[in-house]
Every structure is written in C-alpha cells, then in structure tokens.
Symmetry: C2
Subunit: 285 residues, 2 copies
C-alpha cells in the first residue's frame, strides 16, 4: 500500500514539525532566547496569540526545572510582527513539584530598542507525575464527525484577507457555529471545532497553548465583526493529550462594556479534558 | 427610630472600613509599599488569598495611571503570615485606556531577607469609562433569600479551628451547597452564597478580589476535606458593583491529577455579572 506508506512517512512528529521549528529558540545566555517569529502563524497580518504563548511556554520549559505548563497567564501589551524577537525569562521560585517563572517577549523598534510585546507568569510541573484520579462533571462537546464539519479550505475565505495560519492548522468547524460565515450568526457566543496541526503532528502541552486561541472569535457568532484583541489569556493544562485530533469548544457568555471573555475547553481523543482557558478580549461595538 | 439611626451611623463606607484599613499601604518610595498584613483575614492560620490579592490590587491602583483592575492574575508562591510585608510594583506599560503592571508581595525570613509570597500581573482601566452595552447569556445564580441561608454564626464551626475572617464577612451559604457541613456532601462541586462585609461596607472593584476567594472550597462538597491551596487565581472585573450584598457562585467541574479549577461568578444587587474568576488549586486525594 504505497499511498498509506507515503502518508505515514510524511506525518510530522512532536519535536520534528512546523510547530516545533517555528517555536524553536536559540539560547543567547542562560534564560535569554532569540527567535525569528514565523510569518506562518499570522491571521490577517497579526501573529496569532496562541503561537506567541507557545513560544514563551517553550522558553520557560527550558528555563525552569519542570517542563510542563500547569497554568500560564499572558498579558498582551503591543502587537507582535513576524521577525526577530528576544525572550527573557526569570525563575521566580523552584519547588519540588511546582516551579514558577516569568517571561517577556520583546521585539525591536526602528532604533533597535526593545519593545515588550507580551509578559507571562506561569507555574510548571510534571504532568506525568500526577495521579490518574479523575472526578469530572465536565462533558466533552458534541461536534459532528469531521467530514461533516468545515474548514477554511471548504469555501470562500470566511474572513477578509489571507491568513497563513490556516495552512498550518487542521481546523474543522462545527456547522452549527458557522452561521457568521453565511451572514447569519446564531447570536450565541459559541465556537466549536476539531483541531489539529496540518502536518499531522500530535499534541503536547505546548501545542495546547496554541489550540485555545486558534478558532475564529466567538464574537463573530454574536454578530460582531472585526478584530478582537486579547488583553489577557490564562491556560490551565490538565493532562498530557492523547494522540489524534482535539475537540475545542469556546464559549462567551458576557459581552459588556466593550469586553468579553472567551472560555475554551480542549478535549483529547481519549475523552479527557486536557486544557481549560479563559481570555479577556476587547471588542469594537 | 433611634435603633435604625444607630445602625446607619455605624455602617462602614468605602474608604473607611475594616477592609480599607487592613489593605492600606504606606508608600516607602515610588512603587514600593509597606503594609502590616492583618491577622483579621486568616482562615485557620493562613492569610486569605483574596485579601492578599486585594492588597496587591490596591498597590497597583496607586502605581498605575488607571485605578480599576480589569484582569489580574496571581501566582501564589509561599504561604503568607500576618505581619510586615512589602509590595514592589513595576509599571509594564501605560496606555490610553489600559495600563499593565506587575507586583510582588514579600515578607521577611528570620535573617530579615525578603521572601516572595505572591506575584501578580494585571491590566487596569477605568470602569466608569466603559460603554453601558451588555449582551449576556449568563444568568444570576438562584440562591434562597438570605434569611434561609446559613453562616458560620448559625451553627457549630463547620471547619476545625477558629477563623478570624468569618467575623469580617457577611457570608450566608445556600443550604443546598452545605451538605459537607452536615457530613453529607452533595458530590457536586458547587458553592453559593450571599456575600458582604460584616461592617456593612459596600463593594468596589478591590473587594470583588476578596469575594471570589472567600467561600468554603468547592472540594468540601465533592467530599474532600483539608487544605486546598491556590496555585494561580485570575479575576476579571467586568463592572463596578452596585451597593448591597453580592451573590457568589463557585463551580468546579474537573478534579484531576490532584488539581481542580474553581470558577467564580459574582453578581451585584442590580443583576449584573460584576466579576468572573478562575483559580487552579491543589487537593490532597
């Protein structure tokens, strides 16, 4: 079966994939890392906030004694652009089972001065050391089978402008949250999708940081259009994800005063809730 | 009616109350503040995490060009004790409508060296400048009238040890989330209460930071006992609260690997969702 063999051969793996290459950092000195932010993770012309969070998350995984983000909070300060950046990390506390760190990503202005783009605080641990005990009342989102869902490649571009990130994602949106793309938003602040990486790489804690911020804004289904910039995004990684595509469900309940929250849940193929996130974002009314 | 007149006369106000006195800071130099952490906000012997967040929130309100916390994320590093502390703040970015700051609270070890207790990142703005537009699908929690709810004063102490904080709060718990106090936890991770300050002070954005972390742990209703230390707590303040008691609803859906999330919603007397929060906490299984 040469066709299947070829597909298997080109399937990317954790550590050897577009996502890994584009979040790879070069250590300049202890705790300081250089990176060239890829243009491959832009939506319209903005660098995706989840990709940026993964870059900072990878820097902290190197700087801290623990490798897995358990909880990471990011405040987005100024808009990032593709190109050179430096990440500066600080070990706040090293504990036996948890360590806490801080990281900032800077780019350069016309005079070469550093401009801070994002600052994060995070606590890291070892997901594999946790007990297996799960007591959950959370239920996985019900999303139609993938072949009944729709991605950017299935129709005319649902948002203006081209977006490089769509080439790197396997994103299949639940048709019941796609009214906005047909000019008939549901009015409910919900967005659901199957989510993977286009090159077939499986997920790890770092790609979960991307998953929570990669769907179209729930604001589209509320009937708003335009840019919904993130002010703050906090992600809790609750379990190492099983291989295969993820289900991502995002809910907005409260749009008030020009701000909204987006609550994301990420479920893996084994039926585990692997990440929860919440962001505060601005909308133009 | 002399009785009513007396009650009105002793009712504390925003700016002149136990909460304001116990979160008041002395500016040592620009951005650096001294405080004596009050023993009045301890639960068993630990200083309440919401009180500590309010202390840091007040420092940032002074240090930043904006006065209201819109989103504040705290990572709890080591256990705080009543007594002297210093808060060091850093202005990360000053914008027109939002500014971002960082703050850390330190106490002193036996040699007088600073030990960091908590670090926060926060974005501040002006709640009064926001448009009135509200589109929400969130619904206020249904809690029985206050005289059908129960506080620590209504029965034998529900947790071992005395807790000074209960004297400073007006906490009336929904009986349907009080099974744990009678040895019959519901198994559902829910806790709901009417919430106020015992001296009658109305709420402001700073006391909302207290409100989200002042109820008994949801873990009690899941059937767990003991200490549930907060790793990280993020609060979004969405509106300035109206006068009068608040309704606070806390939900835990996913207890896994020795960690759980607590999602809090705070509603004011005018029926507005004034704060949302999520924390990641550890449990002993």
């Amino acid at each position: 079966m040469p066709e299947a063999a070829t597909a298997a051969a080109v399937r990317a793996t954790i550590g050897d994939s577009e996502f890994d290459r584009d979040t790879a950092l070069t250590r300049r000195e202890p705790g300081v890392y250089d990176i060239d932010l890829s243009a491959g993770w832009t939506i319209i012309s903005a660098v995706n906030g989840g990709y940026l969070l993964a870059v900072l998350g990878r820097a902290l995984a190197d700087a801290l004694p623990h490798a897995d983000p358990f909880t990471i909070s990011a405040h987005y300060l100024t808009a990032s652009q593709p190109g050179p950046a430096v990440v500066r990390t600080d070990v706040v506390r090293s504990g036996r089972s948890l360590s806490t760190g801080q990281a900032s990503l800077f780019q350069y202005d016309d005079e070469g001065r550093e401009v801070e783009r994002i600052r994060v605080l995070a606590s890291y641990g070892d997901l594999d050391s946790l007990p297996d005990d799960v007591r959950t009342t959370a239920e996985a989102p019900v999303i139609p089978p993938m072949d009944q869902c729709f991605g950017p490649e299935d129709g005319p571009a649902p948002v203006d402008g081209s977006s490089a990130i769509t080439d790197r994602l396997m994103l299949k949106l639940d048709p019941s949250t796609l009214g906005w793309a047909l000019g008939a938003p549901s009015g409910k602040g919900e967005m659901r999708a199957w989510f993977g990486l286009a090159d077939g790489r499986d997920h790890d804690p770092l790609s979960l940081l991307l998953a929570v911020d990669a769907l179209p804004p729930t604001a589209f289904e509320i009937g708003l259009s335009g840019w919904v910039p993130t002010v703050e995004l906090t992600v809790h990684v609750r379990s190492r994800p099983a291989p295969g595509p993820l289900r991502v469900s995002i809910t907005t309940r409260n749009l008030a005063g020009g701000f909204l929250e987006e609550d994301a849940e990420v479920w893996d193929g084994a039926g585990r809730l692997v990440a929860q996130s919440r962001q505060l974002a601005r909308v133009r009314l």
